[in-house]
């Protein structure tokens, strides 16, 4: 599903976010990416959907060469993914319903299918009653859950989430993790950057620990490992 060979990333302003990353992730895996603030987790994740291009190295996602990809192919790469952004990225001028529906509109799904799926995922994240309001009228955690709903609405082959529970209370976080587990059991590969020790420790999944731009640990059934 994901192959990273010798990936490095140096931002234009000179800061080096990643050096020499080598990772293989197979279809159906559930992977946590952990590490201190500024370690390079978001950079790692952003490369997967080509928000950020690596400075050097090879990157394949879902069989596609992300680095040498044609500009016109990028949308199709992204459609096969579900992405939860650290800063949500909801469209401020669309209602909650339309924000989620938008991800299906772009793949030109039929109207009835859209209604069904959107209502279903809004139910999953517990925000069906907020369908008609705008993102600006939601609490931080509610926006985060809408972003999650949008990411899973298309049954992506790969779900990428950057701190999807950063603004959620533990109860709601667990609800989200249950959804992720179910999506994962249905065959979706999941990569999730997180600071949530409790979740990582109890889920018992593969953990990739990043520090200072390099992978310091990669365990099949790992723990968070940063003691509070």
């Amino acid at each position: 599903m994901i192959i990273m060979n010798n990936i490095s990333k140096r931002y234009p302003n000179g800061s080096v976010a990643l050096t020499n990353i080598n990772v293989h992730i197979s279809k159906g895996e559930f992977v946590f990416v952990v590490g201190p603030s500024g370690a390079g987790k978001s950079t790692f994740i952003k490369m997967l959907f080509r928000e950020v291009l690596p400075s050097s190295g090879e990157l394949f996602v879902n069989g596609r060469n992300v680095v040498d990809m044609e500009r016109s192919e990028v949308p199709y790469l992204r459609r096969s993914l579900g992405i939860v952004f650290q800063d949500y990225r909801l469209l401020p001028q669309k209602t909650v319903h339309d924000n989620v529906a938008f991800a299906m509109e772009v793949i030109e799904a039929p109207y009835r299918e859209i209604q069904k799926r959107v209502n279903h995922v809004l139910d999953l994240v517990g925000l069906r009653h907020k369908a008609r309001v705008y993102p600006g009228e939601l609490s931080g955690g509610e926006q985060q859950r809408i972003a999650i709903a949008r990411a899973i609405v298309n049954n992506p082959v790969l779900l990428i989430a950057d701190e999807p529970t950063g603004n959620l209370d533990p109860d709601t976080s667990w609800d989200i993790m249950k959804i992720f587990s179910r999506v994962n059991r249905n065959g979706t590969t999941i990569i999730m950057a997180t600071h949530d020790k409790d979740i990582v420790d109890s889920m018992n999944k593969r953990v990739i620990a990043v520090e200072n731009g390099t992978i310091v640990r990669d365990e099949v059934k790992g723990v968070y490992g940063y003691e509070a």
């Binding site: 959907f49 928000e51 500009r71 016109s72 990028v74 949308p75 199709y76 790469l77 992204r78 459609r79 993914l81 992405i83 952004f85 990225r89 909801l90 469209l91 401020p92 001028q93 938008f102 991800a103 509109e105 772009v106 793949i107 030109e108 039929p110 109207y111 949008r150």
Partner: protein, 295 residues
């Protein structure tokens, strides 16, 4: 494209216009004002040009004949003139008609004529109108050479000033209109660029969700077209109103000014403006968008 998607684009377009009230208003009113100014000057320049043409078409060659030319000779000359290249109209003016006109022209100094008593020293003459003003200079010397012709005149100096003036009006007019059109396009494009700029984050979010460039572009294009068309429509309405008012005003007090009649002139100008508004709106959106699509 599926019908469903087309429908989505249309819905999207109008919902976006509703939500971006300020920006929509800014683009639309800028289009309206720019095209209003452009249209105003288009009408002005076209009318000036029309006046210039009217003036020019009144310039003619006057051919004075020797008194000795017989009636047959006059007919022959008339035919000869009519056959010349570029000659549009030949009018014969005999001594008597010439005297009548002279009396009229003299106006306040008629006393002078009593001194002439019954003699009429004015010659018979032809007035020749040609297809284009430049022809006059070529024909005049040629005609002077003909037997029976005393001389051929066309008020050299005045006519040349007139031609310079009308040339200036024409060139100036075209330059002005081109400049205004460019300025309008530029200002409108600027405004649209700013409205798109204010929504660059929105565009980037759409890209991250997997929307293709055209999927994002279409609603913007439609929105630009709708706003451009609406702006142009306002401009056209105001212009038509103003020109009609001007015409009826002119009929009352300025009957001597040769203005272009209302129809089909206004329809043509309106069509140009409506098309421009729509095109600029669509192009402006599309071009401005390009930069922000690149994520």
């Amino acid at each position: 494209m599926r019908l469903r998607t087309l429908e989505y684009f249309v819905r999207e377009t109008f919902s976006s216009i509703r939500h971006n009230g300020l920006m929509g208003f800014a683009s639309m009113s800028t289009v309206a004002l720019s095209l209003l100014i452009l249209g105003l000057f288009l009408i002005m320049v076209l009318n000036l040009n029309h006046m210039a043409s009217t003036l020019e078409s009144q310039v003619q060659i006057t051919v004075y004949l020797e008194d000795s030319v017989s009636n047959a000779g006059i007919t022959r000359l008339a035919n000869e003139f009519a056959d010349m290249e570029g000659v549009k109209k030949v009018t014969y003016v005999d001594k008597k008609q010439a005297m009548e006109r002279f009396k009229q022209r003299l106006g306040e100094q008629q006393g002078l004529l009593t001194a002439l008593e019954n003699t009429n020293p004015l010659p018979n003459s032809f007035e020749i109108q040609v297809d284009k003003p430049e022809r006059i200079k070529m024909l005049a010397p040629e005609i002077s050479e003909l037997p029976g012709v005393e001389n051929a005149r066309f008020g050299q100096e005045v006519v040349e000033q007139l031609f310079t003036l009308t040339k200036i009006v024409r060139i100036g007019g075209v330059v002005l209109i081109l400049f205004l059109a460019l300025a309008a396009i530029f200002i409108i494009a600027n405004t649209i660029r700013l409205t798109v700029f204010a929504r660059r984050r929105e565009v980037s979010i759409m890209k991250y969700v997997g929307a293709t460039d055209w999927f994002i572009r279409w609603p913007f294009l439609l929105e630009g077209m709708v706003l451009g068309l609406a702006g142009a429509f306002i401009a056209v309405l105001l212009l038509a109103e103003a020109y009609s008012a001007l015409l009826s005003q002119a009929q009352a007090t300025l009957a001597f000014l040769p203005l272009i009649p209302r129809q089909p002139f206004l329809t043509q100008v309106s069509a140009v403006l409506l098309a421009s508004g729509t095109a600029i709106g669509a192009l402006g959106s599309a071009i401005s968008l390009r930069k922000f699509l690149d994520v």
